[in-house]
């Protein structure tokens, strides 16, 4: 900055100075965000096949919902919801094999500009169980919640953790809170046995339940109850 004006900006991804004339252009920022996603693993560039028996989870894709980009700080240009949809669907299909079981925990699409849920569903690989979210309609075989025994743990899969029975003594896997309240709804809350698989929290790619179980075992064996805020690296100091 010089006085009140931006003198110039250095782009840490492109490793070059961006003149003031172009620094705020959408095209330039879109390119920077795409590089950032690819470098951070938020955008898969190649398929990463997994064994057929693996189970995956994700929630709150909000396909077709432009405002979610700003509300939840997603690494996309606000005006390009089609690019967001393209990347989220690509991430899904590069992670999931047709034989994989996927539990989708609600809010697949949102808003008048979004396609009908069935159209999005046809684009997604895997044997998918849809759990209903508060914004969902038009997903005919969606269930309100489901129980799953896996890796020696009992899980309740539900969109909003507030809908879980207080008597349930297993682990609740949920969405709904996005990255809006990480203090109360982090990726893994060991104390309250809650796991938030909202897309923003797990890095926009479905998460393998096997990995979640390993993290739980590892932390519990150390007696470490410190929550894991996000599935990807973040600053803890």
């Amino acid at each position: 900055m010089k006085g009140e004006d931006i003198l110039t900006e250095y782009d840490l991804l492109e490793k070059r100075w961006i003149s003031n004339d172009h620094s705020h252009s959408s095209k330039s920022w879109q390119k920077t965000l795409a590089l950032f996603r690819q470098q951070s693993g938020f955008e898969r560039l190649d398929p990463l096949p997994s064994p057929n028996e693996d189970i995956f989870l994700i929630a709150d894709l909000h396909l077709g919902h432009a405002n979610i980009i700003r509300y939840c700080s997603r690494p996309f240009l606000f005006s390009d919801v089609r690019e967001m949809d393209h990347v989220l669907i690509k991430n899904w299909n590069y992670t999931i094999s047709p034989a994989n079981r996927v539990y989708y925990l609600g809010d697949l699409r949102y808003g008048t500009d979004a396609l009908p849920a069935l159209q999005y569903r046809q684009k997604l690989k895997g044997n998918i169980t849809f759990v209903t979210g508060n914004h969902d309609d038009g997903v005919p075989d969606a269930v309100p919640s489901c129980l799953l025994d896996y890796g020696g743990f009992r899980f309740l899969l539900v969109h909003d953790p507030a809908d879980c029975r207080p008597a349930f003594d297993g682990w609740v896997i949920h969405g709904h809170h996005h990255n809006n309240d990480l203090r109360h709804y982090p990726f893994i809350d060991f104390e309250h046995r809650r796991i938030n698989v909202s897309a923003e929290v797990i890095g926009y790619c479905p998460v393998n339940l096997k990995d979640i179980c390993e993290l739980i075992r590892e932390h519990m064996s150390r007696g470490d109850m410190t929550p894991i805020l996000l599935k990807y690296p973040y600053c803890t100091e």
Binding site: L13, Q39, S73, N180, L230, C235
Partner: protein, 195 residues
């Protein structure tokens, strides 16, 4: 003013939410005149160039430092109030990553011999207060009132007139109907400085 420089990291993904929150706080406490309208994390400055040092030289020397860095992650978390150069400051504190601390030290190391900084902490980059300013130049009483409400130490609403309360209520109803959201506080947010 035109010869005052600042080295900043721009907010990337969180910019909209932070601006929205700052604007909301401004309306809530009627402190619009004290708000920071371009939220950022300052790395060095405000400073002036020593005699004989040009803007071009400044840019060239910063290139050498910046080229060694990838995106700079940081976490924005909670609220903080401090005494600034021109009065009290309310800010979102920033948890720096190692790369943010290292970049800040490198920038201070390379610029200190060429500049005069008005920020005493630039001489001690290891003790730097990383933050995103919400409002500054506030008097201590005003800042303390706002801060106590933001941090939940004072549960009651700030002193608002009946018309202002009605307006806020109406805005909440409209935004709920439209499916838009008003700012909520506080957040813990992860961001990465890309520029």
């Amino acid at each position: 003013m035109d010869d005052i420089y600042l080295i900043e990291i721009r907010l990337a993904m969180t910019k909209w939410r932070i601006r929205k929150t700052i604007s909301y706080i401004g309306r809530l406490f009627s402190i619009q005149g004290f708000l920071e309208h371009h939220p950022h994390v300052t790395l060095f400055g405000p400073f002036t160039l020593n005699e004989g040092v040009s803007s071009r030289q400044l840019i060239d020397i910063l290139s050498q430092v910046a080229a060694g860095y990838n995106p700079i992650p940081f976490t924005i978390d909670g609220w903080e109030m401090r005494q600034g150069i021109h009065g009290n400051v309310i800010a979102f504190p920033v948890r720096p990553s190692d790369s943010l601390k290292k970049l800040t030290s490198s920038v201070a190391g390379i610029l200190s011999p060429l500049t005069y900084s008005h920020n005493i902490w630039d001489a001690h980059p290891d003790s730097k207060w990383f933050h995103v300013t919400v409002a500054n130049r506030m008097d201590p009483v005003q800042a303390a009132t706002v801060f106590s409400v933001l941090t939940g130490r004072q549960q009651e609403q700030p002193p608002l007139g009946i018309l202002l309360r009605l307006r806020n209520m109406l805005r909440r109803v409209i935004s709920r109907k439209k499916g838009t959201r008003s700012a909520r506080l506080p957040w813990m947010m992860q961001d990465s400085g890309l520029r």
